[in-house]
Amino acid sequence: MSEDLSNVPKPDELMGIDHKPPRKGWMDVPVDFKPGTYSYPAKAKNLKILGMPNPREWSPTDEDWKLPENWKEIVREGFKDRLDKYRSFQLFMDICVRCGACADKCHFFIGSGDPKNMPVLRAELMRSVYRKEFTTSGKIFGKLAGARELTTDVIKEWFYYFYQCTECRRCSVFCPYGIDTAEITMMGRELLHLLGCGINWAMEPVANCFRTGNHLGLQPHGFKDTLEFFADDIEDLTGIKIDVPLNKKGAEILFVVPSGDYFGDPGTYTCMGYMMLFHELGLDYTWSTYASEGGNFGLFTSHEMIKRLNAKIYAEAKRLGVKWILGGECGHMWRVMHQYMDTMNGPADFLEVPTSPITGTRFENAKSTKMVHIMEFTSDLMWHNRLRLDPGRNENLIVTFHDSCNPARAMGLIEEPRYVIQKVCNHFHEMPENTIKEQTFCCGGGAGLGNDENMEMRLRGGFPRGNAVRYVQEKYGVNRLACICAIDRATLIPVCDYWAPGVEVTGVHEMVANALVMKGEKERTTNLRGEPLPGKEEVEDE
């Protein structure tokens, strides 16, 4: 999947930016919807499917956004409701001292220079209204106290900048009070949704997922076709025919992946990787057509929507009578599974503490939620030497690893993927320390922003990541960027094409499957992508 980058200025030109803010105060600078830097609005049909307010056709560049008549009251009520429900929101409105430590931690600020992309100012867009509506000093002193009137211009500004935040939480790592812009952006988006202002690239997947079980809108027979198609490819490659267990009652494990894994390259290779691994292990597992999406664009919509979409995971585990749940390589999905699922839709007392049937390891860390990350599962297999691996098949890959925001900063899944990668390939190099692990940079397209119309902003936001990739490309000859996130596997491709041309993106289980020596396989000559394996180039030429 390569996107058209011809409309985007060249890197030198794109980065001809100044991080110095303008002379004019930020309250006096109106928002400018520049093409390439915003996402198209949610279509009415999608909002209708979900029963969300104010469905209509509109555009951010319109003068009149066709807001409900009492929009101000709706925002005020919604604001108050959330202040009452979330301590985080109250605190984060109140305690910022504007020290500015967060300012240059945001990939969108680094790449755009727009001061309203400094996390502190992104939050002030909201705090200013909070002060006016809910604090005495704001009511009395107004602008002097940093307060401002809630107007339609403010709503437009919220829409622009809360959809220029990928909820990556990098700023919250550096904040002395742990103020988390993701939390503020989530609240901002919730308020916007009360007025019917969302983006289509988030709401179409949400609507699809609600009805068909996955973001793509793939129906059960289509899902089956896709997986069987992968099984055919695997047979061509290895000579081994593998099963595709679907909606299988009584299976031990329900396996859930982000739909990106069975939708587009290179996610599909990772998906084949899972299938090959499970076949080799003889794992008693099942896919589900109903719970065919682990990803959850509800996270980019509202807390209520997270719960609405996530409910099917436990419901399906219960219906199928599985013992526990295993989840694939995905970023935001794992924030939902780790930090929200059990609270929202648990307790999962009908499941058992996950135990690997191969190694006997009890995953005590998942004993309540009963869902295990595939990196935990696979690294455990490797630690116990239960896989025959030939890392030589990945000899041509010089790999670096991109920590996805949510596994790193909302889960702490840091060493597991590194362990797995180093078991399946011989050349691994870390990017600079300010760009990995808890300090990792977003791909620039998370939280619903990975759409084509927003490409310029994505590349700006992807600059810090792309820059770090280019650094290891120049220093070590890195040619493969590994990641454990379906959004990454889609969005890092243009980021690399633009900032570090020549580096390709891969999922980790794609590399695992390439290295995996399967029982009864024929001699492999190519990898999953159909490229000749190292040492087999000549065979390919014949």
Binding site: S172, F174, N365, T369, N467
Partner: protein
């Protein structure tokens, strides 16, 4: 605008004392009534604000993890940066509150030709912040000698350490120098760094000027415009034993100091200074990363509209049957 307004306000506050005490002689107002009122506002205000936060529910457990989670036994978990138990949370919070752990991570991103971006360490904000807060605390402890009799041993101990170098008569305190330097730095960075100036409000400058005023008036009256220490102690102990007296002839500098402190106290609960209480309650820091081990309960969790499997199968049953996907209802 915020800068000049704040400076102007603090100057007015000082002038008020000149007028009120120096000219009109309202010593009891400035020595008794205002300090009492300020302290009352401070106590009630802080308790109210913290109570309000504490009452607000924490629906989700959302720690920001900055280190390896506890997962498999052979992977070393980082209990400080990604705490998995209460001890870990306590240590994480202690590091945050006492040593400003997160601010210590601070970096500076710089855009260079290429284009490329490089990150340098920058510890000045952390250092100045830490120096400011700690010297403020030590100065506060030193002041206990005005309110206590006998003076607790640790107050004398700190004071001895603070004046260790015995420069000048009376001895120059290190904390006085440090707080003046630190506050000056914190002010200058707000003015000099364009991004910080852009985000700064009156609410950011005002406490800086106020604290600078408090510290300066304190230093001035200790070293230059001497006041009668014994009378100051008489007033202070009087206030705290609820038998307030206003001894004659303490000196104007003291009233300026006291009035600025009173203003700071009264202003505190309405301001960003409440970060002092708030930092303890921050859900991204004070919760353990044990989400999958122990279920977190949301007190207001409510049922939502979902798309059930039954509804799903009803829509797709024929298609499912056609390709051999098992269904509930044939």
């Amino acid at each position: 605008m915020g800068l000049w307004f704040s400076l102007f306000t603090v100057v007015i506050l000082v002038l008020l004392v000149f007028m009120g005490v120096g000219v009109v002689g309202l010593n009891s107002l400035f020595g008794i009534v205002i300090p009492y009122a300020a302290l009352l506002v401070f106590l009630v205000g802080v308790v109210y604000r913290v109570g309000k936060w504490a009452k607000a529910p924490v629906p989700f457990r959302i720690p920001t993890t900055c280190g390896q989670q506890k997962s498999l036994p052979w992977i070393k978990a980082n209990n400080l940066e990604s705490p998995y138990n209460t001890l870990g949370v306590i240590v994480r919070m202690a590091l945050e509150v006492l040593l400003f752990r997160s601010l210590f991570r601070n970096t500076r991103a710089e855009l260079r030709d290429g284009p490329r971006v490089v990150y340098g360490g920058t510890k000045w904000l952390w250092l100045a912040g830490l120096a400011f807060h700690w010297s403020f605390l030590l100065i506060l402890i030193r002041h206990l000698r005005f309110f206590t009799e006998p003076i607790p041993f640790f107050v004398n101990l700190f004071e001895g350490m603070d004046g260790l170098f015995e420069i000048g008569v009376p001895t120059l305190y290190m904390t006085d120098i440090i707080i003046l330097l630190a506050v000056t730095y914190l002010f200058l960075r707000r003015v000099v760094i364009p991004q910080i100036r852009y985000i700064s409000l009156a609410a950011d400058y005002f406490p800086l000027f106020l604290i600078l005023g408090v510290a300066l008036s304190g230093v001035l009256m200790r070293h230059f415009y001497k006041v009668d220490i014994f009378k100051v102690k008489e007033l202070a102990t009087g206030l705290f034993s609820f038998h307030p007296v206003v001894p004659e002839g303490i000196g104007l500098a003291f009233y300026i100091h006291l009035f600025l402190v009173s203003t700071l106290l009264a202003y505190f609960p309405f301001s960003k200074l409440m970060h002092m209480g708030g930092v303890f309650l921050s859900p991204t820091r004070n919760l353990a990363n044990n989400n999958r081990m122990r279920r977190h309960v949301n007190p207001w969790n409510y049922p939502v509209k979902v798309h059930t499997y039954e509804a799903y199968e009803d829509e797709f049953r024929e298609k499912m049957k056609a390709v051999g996907i098992p269904v509930e209802k044939e």
